[in-house]
Structure formats: C-alpha cells, structure tokens
Amino acid sequence: MTEHTSTTTQLPELQLDGISKSYGDNLAVRSITASIPAHKVSVIVGPSGCGKSTLLRIISGLDEPTEGTVTFEGNPVHGVPEGLAMVFQDYSRSLYPWLRVDKNVAFPLSKLPAAERDARVAEAIEAVGLKGREKLYPWQMSGGMQQRVAIARALASQPKLLLMDEPYASVDAQTRADLEDLLLKIQRKLGITVLIVTHDIDESVYLADHIIVLSTPPSVVAETIDVDLAHPRDHFSTKTHPRFVEIRGHVTQLLRHTELTGGAA
C-alpha cells in the first residue's frame, strides 16, 4: 500500500469537483474545483466570510456539499474519512479542559493498545516541543502552547491529511511565527499533506507550496498559484526574497480585485 502511494504521488490526495454549498437561498461557495497535491502544504486564502470554513467542513466530512463531490485518496467523502485530522482555530474550545495534556493528545487513540498509544503520545508531544508539560491542564498554558497541544493531538493520530482552520488567528505574532515554522518543520519531516485555511496573505505565501485564492461569496476559485520558494524557509530571508514579495503582491491584488468586482466571474 505504501509502495503504491509512492508511485502515485503525482495524483492529488484530495480532489474537489464542483463543490457548491448553500444555506437556504444563501449560496456560500459556488462550484469550487481544486486539487490538493499529496505531501505538500496547500493553503486556501480568501477574504473574511468567503466560505473558507464551510469548505473545510465539507472536505473533512463534517458537512455535505449541496452539489459536487470531494474525493480523498480516490474515495468519495461521506462522513469523516480515516486518515484525516484537524486543528481548529479556537484551541480553548477544541481541547478538553478536564483532561491533562497527555490525555488530550491520547484521546483520539482510544482504540490502540496502551503501549503503542503511549509511544505515539510521547512522540507527538516531543514533536511540538511540549516535553515535560504532559501533566499540565490546557488552561494552565498560554494560547500558543494550547495550540501546540491541538497540533500534537492531530499528529498523534498519524493523519495522511492534516486540515487547519485559521490555526494561528488567535495567538500573538511571535507565537504565530514560531508555530508556522514548527508546522513547516513537522510537515517536511513526516511528509504529510497539509491543507490550511487562512485570511492572512503573508501566512499563506510563507507556508504554502500551493495556494488556492478564493473570491468573495458566493466564492469561486479566483486562481491557484504554485509557490516555488525554497525550503527550509525562515521569517527573515524567505519574507525578504523578491519572489515572496512578488507572490504576496499578486495574491493581494487578486483578493482586492475580487472584492472590487464582487467575486463575479
């Protein structure tokens, strides 16, 4: 199975075909078609309220699209598929305050034998740099550390696809930069497919191998961009690189353009 996937790395891990979602008469996203390549970081960026979170809920199987299909590893998504994990924006609401850090991380692994579970938890906690804090409660930690716990919990389930919904919108700038680098490091090490939703243009270009720019609602894909910036990236040299500045300018222009034209193609 693993050999099979290695020969098909060029195939998209995740395929969106004509996804539309409406709530009553209100069309949130319209006919979204996009490919999320395997073992890469893809970022969906768009203005606030453009239905990014709706799209992520549909991709994760938490919600069904009104039209269109989501295909994950070749299978249509109905309900949350195996091999998918998610990090929510609101860490204080997604973690369980009555469980200590290690129990929070271990929680999704209830079906595993205890020894393997403990090993995975230790590994995930170490990967996010929280070793020694396993016995704290989430509310005894800063926001950035809580989001690390949420990332560790997602990693412990060893996902093939990691979804992140505005993961760093609730932390301060310095923490945000640290967590962005942490994510890139982990992704390079594990080779998992990551799909991030954000409204932050800088963040999208810095993290992405692949950007999907959405327009204002009813949202359509305005453009997809391949980001060819070298790895490993860092906040000084990458962000001052002419190519970074160029892509960032392009995305900014796209978003401004869609806002001016109201997203109508």
């Binding site: 994760s60 609401r93 305050p97 009555w98 999704p108 016995k135 704290l136 409660y137």
Partner: protein, 292 residues
C-alpha cells in the same frame, strides 16, 4: 503515571492560589476572622435565650441549653452497644436520611440520564420542554396525597415524592450543561472518530459536570425539605414525624432538639457535597480561576 500526576498541578495551583487568598483576606488576622464569624451565631443564641425568658415565648421556647441537652438525650446515648447513638437516631434520623438520600439518588440517575438524552437532541428538548416546565411549576407537596394513593403507605411514596420534587433542577441543569459542551468540542470528537460511549463518558458528562453539580446542590437542599414534608402525614417514624409528635406531647424542648439536628444535618450534607465536588471538578475550579 498516576503517582506523578498530582505533583505538577498541585505545585502550580498552590503557588497561584496562595497569594490570591492572602491578598483577599490579608487585612484580617486569623483570630479576628474567627471572632467575626462567631458574632452572628452568638447574637442568635442570645435572641433565642431572650425569647425563652419572655412571657409570650417562654411557654413554647426552651432555653438553648435545654434544647441542646434534650437533643443529646434523644439522639445520643452513653451505651457503647448502641454505638453511643440514641433511640431517636435509630427510630427517626436514619430512616429519614435514608429516604432523602434514596430519593435524591434516584433523582440524580433519572435527571442526569434524561437530561443527557434531551440535551443531545434539540428535537426532544423542544418536544418535552412544556412538560418539564409543567412538572417543575407543580407545588409537589400538594401531590403527597396522590403518591400515598399510588404507592401505599411505606417508604415508597415518600421516596418517590422526594424524587419527583428534586429531579427538576438536576434535569434542567443537565440539559443546559450538555448544550454548553460546545460545537467545536463535538466537531473535534467527530473528526477523531471517537466512539459514542467515549463521547458520552469523557466529553459530554465531564463537560456538563459543573452544571450538573449545581443542579444536584439545589436538589439536595430541596430533598431535606421534602423529607420533612413527606413525614408530616401517615408516618410512624422520621424527623418530620418527630416534629409533629413532640409538639402534640407539648415536648417543646424535644421539638427544638429536632430543629437543631435538622440544621446540623443540612450543614454536614453541604460539607460532604462540597468535598465531592472539589474532587470531581478540580479542573473546573482551576480553569475558571484562570479566566476570571
């Protein structure tokens, strides 16, 4: 794992809680604090004594000393074979408290069970909301006759009356608590494909825990009231029965002795409840202290 568990939070909670406590009470020394707390009880005892000496009250109100001595005679004994407990303890106190606790336990099981089912389903909540409001607003002591009619005369009608009366705050609070667990936590559970029994036991129940405990606390106070009311009629024992029978025999010292025992019972039950709550909801005290 378990042995290492308490060490870290214990250290942090001690270091964060201690200065806060000192700051709040820092202006008063310990003896002064105890002295202040004693002022009101002493005033009450003085007023009680004054009433017992007055012309109007003297007939019905014994002196505090007499009442306490009588309470000792009734509820305690010098006999080791009786475990130093008096006749009234065996004949009235224990049956009363057992019925109150049985009624409360049944109400907790029904209230929490039903509350979780209703809280998880907006449809069922909407369907049963009017019924719950109706049941809550019925003055349940008025139903005592109905319960005697339905369940005969032994312990059953009394226990069921207590259950019926105190189940409402538990039910309401559980529904509320389940709803307060939040969509994001439910989504996180769905994303990680947590099996349903774990969602119930490890997410819904602990998440609703603080509210459930608040409901149980109200229910516990109510269960003592209902315990007395249920024993005022058709009873052969119990503290409520004792209140009536001492009055009928003009044993006013005995009547006041029962009141003293009732007050002590309320205080002790509340204390035990707080101990349990502190253990079970330790995380919640820490989490709320953090955010306040």
């Amino acid at each position: 794992m378990a042995s290492a568990a308490p060490s870290v939070p214990a250290a942090t909670s001690a270091s964060t809680a201690a200065p806060a406590r000192r700051k709040r009470r820092g202006t008063l020394s310990r003896p002064a604090r105890i002295g202040l707390r004693l002022i009101v009880p002493i005033l009450i005892l003085l007023a009680w004594y004054a009433l017992s000496q007055s012309e109007a009250g003297g007939l019905f109100v014994p002196t505090p000393l007499n009442a306490f001595v009588r309470a000792g005679e009734m509820f305690l004994s010098p006999d080791p074979s009786q475990l130093f407990l008096g006749q009234a303890t065996y004949h009235d106190f224990i049956p009363s408290v057992s019925r109150a606790l049985a009624g409360l336990a049944l109400a907790i099981v029904i209230g929490v069970g039903l509350g979780i089912v209703l809280g998880l389903s907006p449809l069922l909540t909407a369907l049963f909301q009017p019924l719950i409001h109706l049941g809550r607003s019925l003055p349940s002591p008025a139903l005592l006759g109905v319960f005697f009619f339905l369940f005969g005369i032994g312990d059953a009608p009394k226990i069921f009356l207590i259950t019926f009366s105190v189940v409402w705050p538990i039910l309401f609070n559980t529904i509320d608590g389940v709803k307060s667990v939040g969509e994001t936590r439910a989504q996180a559970a769905a994303i990680f494909r947590i099996p349903a029994h774990l969602v119930l036991g490890k997410i819904v129940l602990p998440g609703a825990g603080p509210k459930i405990f608040a409901g149980i606390r109200t229910a516990m106070a109510m269960s003592l009231i209902l315990m007395i009311i249920s024993e005022l009629q058709k009873s052969e024992n119990g503290l409520g029965y004792l209140l009536i029978s001492t009055q009928r025999q003009f044993d006013y010292a005995g009547f006041w002795a029962v009141l003293i025992v009732l007050a002590a019972l309320g205080v002790v039950m509340n204390f035990i409840f707080l101990l349990i709550e502190r253990r079970v909801l330790a995380w919640h005290r820490g989490a709320t202290a953090q955010h306040d």
